[in-house]
Amino acid sequence: MKREDLEKLAELSRIELHSEEEEKLLRDLGKVLDYFRELQKLPTDDVLPVTGGTSATNAIREDELDMHIPGNAARAAFPEQEDGYLVIPPVFSTEGGFSSGEE
């Protein structure tokens, strides 16, 4: 795995890389991917891939309203609220932001 690959993955995963551990991460992931190579030797052309943990199909239920977690309890799990609204950090800005020091 190359450094650009790692940076691309970090971007896809929304994970900020810690510069001091990038080298080790590249090494570790490289080692693991090398280990995976053993699978390539195994012929699997006629094998259907598994698609989940169970072979059960069509788990259906009645289309009924179920207040398993009432709305207020679900809301209470949100970290910050005001007057019944959920408070989130400012997210729509595309400029200014973290470096300006001004609101």
Binding site: L9, R14, V47, L48, A56, P79, P89, S93
Partner: protein
């Protein structure tokens, strides 16, 4: 009060006969936690007050002569990736450090209505990702047999709590061995039920096609009682199914079982004491009259590669929900831009914002920073690995390939189960390893799952049972074996294990 010989099976009569009260018992366990957990580190939180109140409610029911539910007054430790309404549930991650569960996991609800008393939440590898509980954001859980060694993982806190008499039983989760391996390292019994036998509603998901909740206890009988209380179909988990009630078969029926021993599990690098332990278990079961047969599970050697492709793929998807905004808010994020800017400026000189990237936004940056900082190294590694194997251009070579090999591994077992009823195998290649021995080398840690992960890939039930202890220097370390059953045949492995234990 003597906790060491107390079992869930024996508790009921002691409570009814008034030998001690549920409140006294709970108090005794809380005392044991206070005395022992500083050196072990099994608990992330202890519910001293609510445990007392719940135990007193059981005592009141005993006084009134009411019919007692199956787990009346049983003090349990719960892995901290299972939700208990109104209490902190962290999955041992900084990203959930301030998250309070808004509902009960189905398992929690079942245990509660069965009369269990929750003593506290136990430590785990962050989001259950690890085989040693060294990857917890809140400290390592040490092995009660030797505190220089790991308790195993990821349910290390639950296993150590039972082993060190800090809980009468415990609940864990097993995605690639996370109940059985710590049970083996700590000398307790642990069972991973069949995929679908226990509802996963309220379990913080790691890899949804592999995760399964299960019990840990001192004896096979105790594990059977706990499993019976948590199993069954649940509308909140579409993969769950109704299963047979627990039944321990009589010896005549157990004698009719044929147990398979897979030759592929006796590899180079299998610790000689583990090998000896497994042989001892086989000898003992032979004297009970159980028949044995050598079998082959030819794709065993591919299980680690397969598991470490499928699992991280699911991890990368499941953990996408942790954005640092919902569930719990890190102190790095606050309401206004000014606060935010100040906090970052205080903590960080480097602003990674890439104005050249057209997709940059404040939201983008929050995600990056929260997930980069609040997830630990192993979690970040698995998310990156999972994103890689699912990414365009690599998907077929890695993910599809692994899902095909998973089919072959599952087929190995179904072929074997045409000839035998149960499979007996080692749980781990070695006894508990030293703290720090593998924590820096992911691949070495992953290989510790070689005998447990195939069972999850195939969705089968398996129970880890201690067989002996061996002396190493001044200390002794436990050795275990596992019995793997057919889908939904928990009663087969519990019965063989139960008779094994009795002899």
């Amino acid at each position: 009060m003597e906790l060491e010989n107390l079992t869930i099976a024996s508790l009921r009569n002691k409570l009814i006969q008034g030998e001690f009260s549920a409140a006294e018992l709970t108090k005794e366990y809380i005392k044991s936690i206070h005395e022992n957990d500083e050196s072990i580190g099994a608990f992330l939180e202890v519910f001293e007050e609510t445990a007392k109140v719940n135990a007193e409610e059981i005592d009141a029911r005993i006084l009134k002569g009411e019919e007692l539910p199956p787990l009346a007054g049983v003090p349990l430790a719960i892995k901290d990736n299972l939700l208990i309404k109104g209490t902190r549930t962290t999955a041992a991650s900084h990203i959930l450090e301030s998250y309070d569960a808004s509902y009960d996991a189905t398992v929690t609800e079942k245990l509660r209505s069965a009369g269990a008393v929750f003593l506290g939440k136990t430590n785990l590898d962050e989001f259950a990702m690890g085989a040693s509980t060294e990857h917890s954001a809140f400290g390592v859980t040490k092995n009660p047999y030797d505190t220089e060694r790991v308790a195993g993982g990821s349910s290390g806190g639950s296993a150590a709590a039972v082993a060190a008499q800090m809980a009468l039983g415990a609940i864990g989760s097993d995605t690639g061995g996370s109940i059985r391996q710590p049970a083996a390292f700590c000398g307790v019994v642990g069972m991973k039920p069949t995929y679908g036998a226990v509802s996963r509603s309220g379990l913080i998901a790691m890899a949804s096609s592999l995760d399964q909740i299960g019990p840990l206890g001192k004896t096979v009988e105790d594990v059977a009682i706990l499993y019976d209380a948590i199993r069954g179909k649940d509308p909140y988990d579409a993969t769950s199914v109704e299963t047979d009630p627990v039944r321990i078969f009589n010896l005549e029926r157990v004698k009719k079982f044929t147990v398979g021993v897979p030759k592929e599990y006796f590899i180079d690098g299998l610790h000689e004491e583990v090998q000896r332990g497994v042989e001892e278990a086989i000898t003992k079961l032979k004297t009970l009259g159980v028949k044995f047969k050598e079998i082959s599970l030819p794709h065993t050697r591919y299980a680690i590669s397969t598991y470490y492709i499928v699992m991280p793929a699911e991890v990368s998807s499941n953990l996408a929900r942790f954005d640092g905004i919902r569930y719990a808010r890190s102190p790095h994020i606050s309401r206004t831009h000014a606060d935010l800017t100040r906090k970052y400026a205080e903590n960080d000189e480097r602003i990674p914002r890439d104005s050249a990237n057209p997709r940059w936004s404040a939201l983008w940056e929050i995600y990056f920073r929260q997930r980069g900082r609040e997830f630990g190294a192993e979690v970040r590694r698995r998310i990156l690995l999972g994103t890689f194997v699912l990414s365009s251009g690599y998907y077929d070579a890695y993910y599809t390939k692994a899902q095909k090999v998973r089919q072959l591994i599952a087929r190995d077992f179904s072929e074997a189960f045409k000839e035998v009823d149960v499979v007996l195998a080692p749980v781990t290649p070695t006894p508990a390893f030293k703290i720090g021995e593998k924590s820096d080398d992911p691949l070495a840690m992953y290989l510790a799952d070689v005998f447990t992960a195939p069972v999850n890939l195939a969705g089968l039930p398996s129970i880890s049972i201690p067989v002996k202890k061996y002396k190493i220097g001044e200390k002794t370390l436990p050795i275990a074996f596992q019995l793997i059953g057919k889908h939904f045949h928990e009663n087969d492995i519990l019965s063989i294990g139960g008779w094994y234990e009795k002899e």
